[in-house]
Amino acid sequence: MASSGPQTCGPCQGKGLATFKAGVWRENPISIQILGICSTLAVTGRLENAFVMGGALIFVTTMSNLFISLLRSFTPRGIRMIAEMAVIATFVILFDQFLKAFYWEMSKQLGPYVGLIITNCILMGRAEAFALQNPPLVSMVDGLANGLGYAAVLAIIGFIREMLGTGNVLGHAVLPAEWYVPNQLMILAPGAFIALGFLIALSNAVRSHEPGQGRP
């Protein structure tokens, strides 16, 4: 994680912006780190679902990174991973409970995938790679950035899949039924895999044209 320029003032010690940009674009959790694929494929059949899942991840990653960082000096090495799991699971369950209470239809749409956020590699990955070694505020920025990066990819794929798969976006007709025959494949499993594959390829192609990026 390169810091941008000399140490500047502020609680993030100047790393804030670099951390944020890295989480959202340079080290995007889905297209670059290749994490959190399961839920990306599962809930992007409808844009609305993708938004809620993205929101869930932003919430959980930000909060779990914050608390894991706060506890980092007290956490014994031996039970480190279990402690991280406990924190992550707590926030996931909190989100799930409130979703079931106040947005029931979405809870049914997302099904087990909300609970599965616990096993989402992004959370454990950021906890281990960042929150354990960095102060709370920067960790929170990192969590927020990764969450946003994830949510952005989900929104893009959700948009494409819903539009091509049903002709609607957020339930409203966008591609007129007169000439567009919805491509059912896009809302089914194969469409998800293929859409994500192309998105990663596109991301790779764009990155390889960026200056200073020698990634194959």
Binding site: L71, T75, A86, Q97
Partner: protein, 209 residues
Amino acid sequence: MKKSLHTISYAAVLGTACALLLTGAGRFTAPYREANAKAEEVRNILKVLDVPFELGASSQDLLDVFKRCVRQERRGDLTLYIYEDPDAARGVQAIAVPFAGQGLWGPIRGFLALKPDMKTIQGVTFHQQEETPGLGGEIGSDWFRDQFKGKTIEDVNGRAGIRILRGGSASGPNEVHAITGATMTSERVEKMLNAAIMQIAGEDIHHGQ
């Protein structure tokens, strides 16, 4: 020793904090969650019985409407949901019968609503199905379900059973069109609807009102 003590006390504190937080949140959200779950069941019954309710009605509103207008009765193996509007004093409006069966990809559950004569179909809903969207999944669509309105559960000769036909005119009083390209789902739906219809015929229910 000190390290083990530290580990244990850390684990205890963290565990307790998480448990407390979750229990608190669970208690707070419990009434809303339970109301939502109940309202879900109730919403489908109200929909198929054509009981009027507001589109954005809350879970509590739905439960109230249900309690006011619908009563549950058991006739043998059948559970009937009878809609009788107490305000309108028009007697029984409709009767809903649940049906269930195995679809192509997963279980299918729904309600069949009949008019008080227990022969004419008022409507049908599928509140649980995992069929292919756009193919078998069309059983949940308006066009498919609207076909059933006004049809009867017996043919011109009085034999019980509906038929879901591939092609043809579906002109008989108990015939509807199948979904093009979803033969298997259509067949299974026909089977499970007829199972429920046979039960109704078997109970020989006559509603004299």
